[in-house]
């Protein structure tokens, strides 16, 4: 965070900083940052979007925080509970206010984040701040509502479980991690979802521990005036009491050898192989992470030799993709392939290994590297065209790092990545002792 000393002197009781939008920064909008005395961080990004505002409450808690046995899936469950209202605005009243505003409102949960978002007309800003600040401070729900919502969660699980990739993801995490909470998906284990109706008291502690100002970042983007918006936020959130109690997420010990497993999908599917390597926690200044991100594109993306061979020429797979996520703790760097014939799974796996070995030994072509960097930059910038798109692209990085400065740092690092850095990343992460390989097959032929 680049604090401005002038701004710090100006605001006696809260820290504020204007992050300039100047030519040497990559992120194109000016960001106003301010921290209230209770620790609530506020990021305001005015942009040319006449009449429209996106309002994101980013809770820096997700399924990563579910450390207690039997409680997987609770962060997501709690996201649902947040719509059950308060004494001032009970669930039905909250819903009817959102309806009367014609707001596009929803929420999502992932490993490191729970985010609540609304898009609405600028004239309704105060009403939105009122209802959002109210539920974050005064959530109130009774046992029957809580238990009914557990049914909706189980419904969501049933909807998802027909997707082979969901089934595969559950298995890969379970096999790859021993103690870290990334062992389970955000949806949670089915047995824990079944038991959710019994977790009423636990849910209250979840609110007390995590829904606190020091653990939340407010992000408001669009047609807003900074002074007026800050005044409203101070008025409505100023009384929110501190009390964040971070969870004690157990660190995952280093993996000491390859793990393999198979998983059965109830139905018909092409086999899918997932090769997952333990990566590194996101740090925007890590050259190795930036290099791994680009390697994912170069080795397995649509212009890679392997994609051309397996998807376009030999047509042995109908999907090939790498995922290099930015997360708070050590995530999995994964490579998936959906293989057309079961007997080809081994050969496809070996082709993936050979590709990695090639990246470990041979420097990547400089033009291809330059193309990959250009694609990342344009891809990111072209997505920033509405308040909601700006906010949704920032939400994850805010949850992981606490702010948006990481974007400039990361893109700065990406620019500096050399062919040697890519070789280093290939050798650091993509090793046999660091990998978990899971193959999913269907029951029906």
């Amino acid at each position: 965070m680049r604090w401005s000393i002038v701004a710090l002197l100006l605001f006696a009781f809260c820290a504020a900083a204007e992050r300039p939008a100047v030519a040497d920064t990559f992120f194109p909008y000016k960001v106003h940052t301010e921290i209230l005395p209770n620790g609530l961080k506020v990021l305001l990004i005015p942009m040319d979007s006449p009449g429209l505002v996106a309002y994101y409450s980013v809770v820096r808690t997700g399924s990563r925080d579910e450390v207690e046995p039997g409680k997987t899936g609770f962060a997501h469950f709690f996201e649902h509970i947040m719509f059950r209202g308060t004494l001032k605005y009970p669930g039905g009243v909250y819903d009817s206010i959102v309806t009367s505003l014609g707001a596009d409102a929803n929420a999502f949960t992932d490993d490191d984040i729970t985010a609540f978002h609304l898009n609405f007309a600028a004239e309704d800003l105060e009403k939105v701040i009122d209802i959002e600040s109210d539920r974050f401070q005064h959530l109130h729900y009774e046992l029957p509502d809580f238990q009914t919502e557990a049914g909706a969660i189980y419904g969501e699980y049933r909807k998802n479980v027909t997707d082979p990739f969901e089934v595969l993801s559950e298995k890969v995490r379970d096999v790859a991690f021993d103690v870290h909470t990334y062992k389970h998906t955000t949806m949670g284990f089915e047995r824990d979802i079944k038991a959710m109706p019994e977790g009423f008291e636990y849910s209250r502690s979840f609110f007390r521990r995590f829904y606190r100002p020091e653990n939340v970042v407010l992000l408001v983007v669009g047609d807003i005036a900074i002074d007026k918006t800050m005044d409203l936020i101070r008025k409505y959130y100023g009384g929110w009491e501190k009390g964040y109690a971070p969870s004690n997420v157990p660190p995952e010990p280093p993996q000491k050898g390859e793990r393999t497993a198979e998983v059965v999908y109830q139905g018909k599917t092409l086999p899918i192989i997932d090769i997952a390597y333990k990566g590194e926690a996101f740090h925007p200044a890590s050259r190795t992470f930036a290099a791994a991100l680009l390697m994912g594109d170069l080795a397995f993306g649509v212009t890679s030799d392997l994609y051309k061979k397996l998807y376009i020429q030999d047509q042995r797979v109908d999907a090939l993709e790498a995922s290099i996520p930015s997360q708070r703790d050590m995530p999995l760097f994964e490579i998936y392939a959906r293989v057309k014939k079961e007997e080809d799974v081994g050969a496809v796996r070996d082709d993936i290994y050979a590709t990695i070995a090639g990246f470990q030994k041979t420097p990547v072509d400089a033009k291809r590297l330059a193309d990959a960097k250009k694609r990342r930059r344009y891809g990111f910038l072209m997505g920033l065209d509405t308040p909601d798109r700006v906010a949704s692209r920032l939400a994850y990085i805010i949850a992981v790092t606490g702010g948006v400065d990481a974007i400039d740092t990361l893109y700065g690092e990406l620019d500096k990545v050399t062919p040697d850095d890519i070789m280093t990343a290939a050798k650091s992460f993509f090793t046999p002792e660091n990998r978990t390989v899971v193959v999913l097959k269907g029951t029906a032929k």
Partner: protein, 502 residues
């Protein structure tokens, strides 16, 4: 040429000004233009008047295959690999998506990269290579979607496909865009070439161009697209679905973890007319897509916790699980009213079906209340602002306006109708277009025969909960459990999932 210079000057902002939403597009004989000078990107949507309704008999899926042979395959100047290499640093691409009546080739690129991008887009449209290896890959992908994904991976999409196929059986709308296994399997390069030559002609397209483009780009586009084959294909008459009264059901039997339900009937109304906006108010109240304001959502999910959501539609809404607002360029001349019940536990399937049908019956019988009308009208007035925040989406709407023959803009009319429509207008539209006691029901479930017997015998479907419920809900449950939905045996089909999309 009907060009409004006023509109050209109007839209200067990157995003849509609230009060001028939907304005700014210019119609000419062959183009729909949406200049947005401050937008650093340029949006293309080249609309060909062709879709799955034009698939020849026995070649179901040909429109989708041909579209993919344009967007995901080689051209005469570049192999597919070379195209991917060239598009890659631009962070741009193009797509060709076939719906029932429209195929739109769309793409978006940053101004900086236009010079490198444009020739690739034009080649894709005017100079496809039609290589056998591309066809093999594309067919294999669509067949896998039919045989694996649709039959097994998404019971919700399966239910919707079953409903549409059944309602429009025997008409050009009577198969999903991906076609059938037999149809796609039989498609040859000659089929693709003939289809392309017949429908991807210079007289059968409308140019959609938006964003920060230069005036000269339109002239260039016109010149380049002028290289397409000539010809104006004959228009397919609008489909006439078989009339039916009462209930009918198709039950797909599969080893499903839960029961998915979609149901509906054809309606004779299209956007643009006053009645459509009136009916949309009633529909939004009954089942606004992915929104807790949906009444069905309140009854089935919020009060009873049976599933993840429950919605209704008066326009086709493909890929509903992945979008929160309506898509563009899936316009069609015949729409259906549709209710979507997301998967419920199997033992509550019959109950959930009854609950939805009962709410629909109550609405058709009594109409909306004044209070619900006011809330929903005010909601829609603002909610419609979220339908098209980007240039690409607005351009899509402008093309759809052209499809439906709407002068001005649908979204603008939508907002102005919310100022003038009355409760009487809405209730009159309900009475005119929604039929109580008529519904085609598609159910995906494990115990298909059990469900069939329950529907034929109108067996009561009591529900019990593991957790306590308020007395008012338990009392209502008793009424729902015996709400009459008796279906004649000859109107219930049970189909194994392996027989779908054959």
């Amino acid at each position: 040429m009907k060009t409004s210079t006023k509109s050209l000057l109007l839209s200067i902002a990157l995003c849509v000004p609230v009060l001028t939403m939907g304005e700014g597009s210019v119609n000419t004989d062959d183009a729909v233009l949406l200049p947005v000078r401050k937008d650093p990107t340029i949006c293309f949507r080249i609309w060909f008047k062709v879709g799955s309704q034009n698939d020849p008999k026995g070649k179901e899926g040909l429109a989708e295959v041909t579209a993919a042979m344009i967007s995901d395959a080689s051209t005469r100047n570049n192999s597919y690999e070379q195209i991917l290499d060239k598009l890659y640093p631009l962070a741009a691409g193009y797509d060709a998506e076939a719906s029932v009546e429209m195929t739109a080739v769309s793409g978006r690129v940053h101004k900086d990269n236009l010079a490198d991008y444009y020739p690739l887009l034009i080649d894709a449209i005017t100079a496809p290579a039609f290589a056998q290896t591309d066809l093999d890959r594309i067919k294999s992908g669509i067949l896998s979607t039919l045989e694996n994904t649709l039959r097994y991976s998404s019971d919700e999409e399966l239910g919707k496909a079953v409903l549409y196929n059944d309602l429009f059986a025997g008409t050009p709308y009577g198969h999903i865009t991906s076609g059938t296994v037999a149809g796609v399997s039989s498609i040859t390069l000659d089929d693709v070439k003939a289809f392309y030559t017949k429908y991807f002609t210079r007289e059968n397209l409308v140019i959609g161009l938006g964003g920060g483009y230069d005036e000269s780009l339109l002239a260039k586009l016109r010149g380049d697209l002028g290289r397409l084959p000539a010809g104006k294909p004959e228009e397919v008459p609008p489909p006439v679905p078989a009339a039916f009264e009462g209930w009918k059901a198709t039950i797909v039997e599969k080893d499903a973890p839960a029961t998915a339900i979609s149901m509906g009937f054809p309606i004779d109304i299209l956007r643009g007319t006053k009645d459509w906006y009136a009916l949309e108010i009633a529909n939004s109240w009954l089942g606004e897509h992915r929104n807790s304001s949906s009444h069905l959502y309140q009854v089935i999910r919020e009060r009873r916790g049976l599933n993840y959501g429950d919605y209704s539609y008066i326009e086709n809404f493909p890929h509903g699980g992945m979008r929160s607002v309506p898509p563009q360029n899936v316009s069609r001349r015949k729409q259906i009213f549709e209710i979507w019940i997301r998967p419920v536990p199997e033992e509550t399937g019959h109950f959930a079906l009854r609950a939805a049908l009962r709410e629909f019956a109550k609405l058709t019988e009594h109409g909306m209340t004044a209070e619900d009308f006011t809330i929903t009208r005010d909601f829609l007035k603002k909610y419609v602002l979220h339908y098209a925040p980007t240039t690409m989406e607005r351009l899509g709407y402008a093309l759809d306006d052209r499809f439906y023959g709407i002068e001005g803009s649908h979204l603008e009319r939508f907002r102005s109708m919310m100022q003038t429509l009355t409760l009487a207008d809405v209730n009159a539209a309900i009475a005119k277009y929604w039929k109580k006691g008529t519904m085609d029901i598609a159910i995906v479930t494990k115990d298909a025969k059990g469900m069939r017997d329950a529907l034929v015998n109108d067996t009561p479907s009591p529900i019990s909960y593991k957790n306590p419920k308020p007395a008012s809900i338990l009392a209502e449950d008793k009424e729902i459990a015996v709400f009459p939905v008796k279906i004649k045996p000859e109107n219930v089909k049970v189909v194994p999932v392996t027989a779908m999309f054959k």
